[in-house]
């Protein structure tokens, strides 16, 4: 992991001045201030209710993905059951909403804390036996526990509400400075506040001794044990902290949607957060944030355009695992060095020569898929379809041929210029590569 703030510590040269405790510098705080301002400004740019709903969903997914990355990226624990901690936190919050006497005395913004504590409580129990090992055994236990609790949702009806789930009403809470959270925008600011707070806390957690040791245990659990740390307890504390923030996300989910069902607990949701986190990049703190934004956009925007959007997401995910294990954040950070060396300009030409054909290839392939899908699954007799604002007959061979040719030609061109791009990147990443 590259730690962005480390380059601000003065280099320990011959001078007696050594690394001082780093004060909170402007450079350190700037991303957070910008992030906060950005969150404040967003509703003024996107004013529609649906946009605000999407942003709320994004914020919840970001918290959830950051919490997930405390396990996968920071601690090296692959979980197939993280949805459970978010889910139970959310369920508890809906129960509190329905507990009129208590809820009437509680301002709504406090509610997620209870979700967090409940998620943490469950993580305490499960973590006590699941964190003994990382890797495959942890993954298996997380899957088993996840499936177990998801299956329990139809059995323990009192808490999970059976198949229809449970629902509540957020507006019965104690008004918060006169705000009753009737409007979507009020919920947005509540969610944004919790997003900032949780993200900051999770970031700071990664800077604590236990957060650092989580990385050490991820890299080499055995060595960590010979430094005085029990790998198991380091994992356990990370796991419990991750459970807490997942619970916070669950509480925000409860506030936003006012209903929780089995879907909030099951393997599909757990798997989805793995996908989101990995797409964004597990190696950097901001990776899951990118992943959550990207995925929510795909989920809300792309799904309106095409029925087979999940197929594209699946392909994108597999391609990421195979070719870009650092995810989107990893790809972006590959350019940090060329930028610092002032040699990013070297990349522009090769990038255009490779990426433009690659985009053509992707669009061609996607068009071919869409045409084939339409051909196979459209209602009988319906042969007209619209793609990229062009309406044509999906049963005619020509459109399919055009799409196929675009895909193949794009692929061929991109492949031909890919080595040059790789070379340009290496050159741009070597000091004085441009001069040599």
């Amino acid at each position: 992991m590259t730690e962005p703030d480390q380059k601000h510590t003065p280099p320990p040269a011959r001078t007696p001045v050594r690394a001082r405790p780093a004060p909170v510098t402007l450079a350190n705080a700037l991303p957070w201030i910008l992030g906060g301002l950005f969150l404040l400004a967003m509703p003024f740019i996107f004013q529609s209710n649906s946009a605000i709903t999407i942003m709320n969903q994004m914020a919840i997914t970001i918290i959830f993905a950051l919490s997930y990355n405390m396990l996968l990226g920071q601690g090296g624990m692959l979980s197939f059951g993280h949805a459970v901690y978010m889910g139970v936190g959310g369920f508890l919050c809906v129960h509190i909403m329905n507990w009129g006497d208590v809820f009437a005395l509680m301002p709504l913004p406090v509610l997620p804390v209870f979700g967090g504590v409940f998620g943490m409580g469950l993580a305490l129990i499960v973590g006590s036996f699941s964190t003994r090992k990382a890797g495959t055994i942890f993954a298996m236990i997380s899957l088993g526990v996840g499936e177990l609790i998801a299956a329990c949702s139809v059995i323990i009806v009192a808490f999970f509400g059976g198949e229809e789930g449970i629902s509540g009403d957020r507006t019965y809470g104690l008004p918060f400075f006169g705000v009753e959270f009737l409007h979507q925008i009020e919920v947005y600011y509540l969610t944004a506040f919790w997003l900032m707070l949780s993200a900051l806390l999770m970031f700071l957690f990664s800077r604590t001794p236990i957060g650092r040791m989580a990385n050490a245990v991820r890299d080499n659990p055995e060595r960590a044990e010979f430094l005085g740390y029990s790998a198991r307890w380091v994992r356990f504390y990370s796991f419990v902290a991750a459970g807490f923030f997942a619970g916070i996300a669950g509480g925000l989910f409860a506030i936003n949607y006012e209903i929780l069902t089995e879907e909030n607990l099951n393997l599909a949701t757990s798997g989805q957060i793995l996908l989101v986190t990995f797409l964004g990049g597990v190696g950097f703190f901001f990776g899951p944030i990118l992943g959550a934004i990207l995925f929510t956009l795909l989920q809300t925007v792309l799904s309106l355009q095409t029925e087979i959007w999940q197929l594209y997401v699946g392909v994108l995910f597999l391609a990421t695992v195979m070719y870009f294990p650092g995810g989107l954040a990893g790809v972006l950070m590959m350019h940090a060095l060329p930028l610092r060396l002032g040699q990013a300009g070297l990349l522009v030409g090769p990038y255009i020569r490779t990426l433009v054909p690659a985009v053509v290839c992707a669009l061609g392939a996607a068009s071919a898929m869409e045409i084939l899908f339409h051909l196979r699954h459209a209602a009988l007799g319906e042969s007209e379809m619209t793609l990229f604002w062009i309406t044509f007959d999906s049963h005619a061979p020509l459109p399919l041929a055009i799409a196929a040719v675009a895909a193949v030609a794009g692929f061929w061109l991109a492949r031909r210029s890919a080595p040059a791009m790789a070379e340009a990147w290496h050159k741009a990443s070597t000091p004085h590569g441009g001069a040599a």
Binding site: P12, R18, R212, A216, R223, E225, F226, Y229
Partner: protein, 258 residues
């Protein structure tokens, strides 16, 4: 230097045995190493030197016997418990945190010793002792200039130096080094030997080593382990002239050196 009466020896091993299945690898080892002593364990390949190390440091539990650190029994304890009692080790195969920076590697090795334990209310960047301590270690192992690189990209010799840095960082008073110069060139070996001398001053050092030059240059006393048993312990010159040792092992090695 021999074990002094009064305070218990830094490390004391009595009747230590270890079997894997039917194979008995350590067949009754007795050894006493005084505080401040530099002790080398030598022996032919497969004699059980690494196993002995692994038993002492808690990587494997012994089958029988006692291991005492400053008089406290540590046999069967977990590695992290033994480490907290003041014993630290390095590994024959470099064993660092490859994806963390060099600085971070060293800083993590200081955390427990400086009392941070499982703290989630301290910020590691804000502790002066921690960061200065880490810089100190980096300076001692000559890796200051490499501090922000991921440890995995260092050269082999640098990784070995970092390995030693991680081992000594916590301030343990008993240091165990498993073949610190394995696979190194002459100049690299000299560099590491100097480093070991420098960083283990006033500490108890136990090391496994194949390079006889290093052993005879560094060690106050030497133990020779053959087939899971110690056949001789003593000052370098005593061991060198011990006929049993010459027969079993040293003779050949010494001849080869001339």
């Amino acid at each position: 230097m021999t074990a002094t009466p009064g305070p218990p020896p830094a490390l004391e091993i009595a009747g230590l045995k270890k079997s894997f299945g039917k194979a008995e690898i350590i067949r009754g080892v007795d050894l006493s190493i005084g505080a401040g002593e530099r002790h080398a364990v030598i022996g032919p390949n497969g004699a059980g030197k690494s196993t002995l190390f692994n038993l002492i440091t808690g990587r494997f539990p012994p089958s029988s016997g006692a291991i005492r650190l400053h008089g406290h029994d540590i046999s069967g304890k977990a590695p992290f418990e033994i480490n907290r009692m003041g014993l630290s080790r390095s590994f024959q195969i470099t064993n660092i945190f490859p994806r963390m920076t060099v600085f971070e590697n060293v800083r993590c090795s200081l955390l427990w010793a400086q009392g941070y334990r499982y703290s989630f209310w301290h910020m590691v960047n804000r502790s002066r002792d921690l960061n200065e301590g880490a810089e100190d270690i980096l300076e001692q192992i000559n890796l200051t200039e490499r501090r922000d690189l991921p440890a995995g990209v260092l050269s082999y010799a640098e990784q070995r130096a970092l390995e030693i840095g991680i081992t000594i960082a916590g301030g343990a008073n008993v240091i165990m080094l498993d073949e610190p110069t394995a696979g190194m060139s002459h100049s690299e070996t000299d560099y590491i030997v100097n480093l070991i001398e420098k960083v283990t001053e006033n500490k108890t050092l136990v090391m496994v080593e194949h390079d006889m030059g290093v052993v005879f240059g560094l060690a106050d006393r030497i133990s020779v382990l053959v087939y899971g048993e110690i056949i001789a312990t003593g000052r370098p010159e005593e061991v060198r002239s011990n006929p049993k040792v010459q027969e079993a092992y040293l003779g050949a090695a010494l001849e080869a050196e001339h």
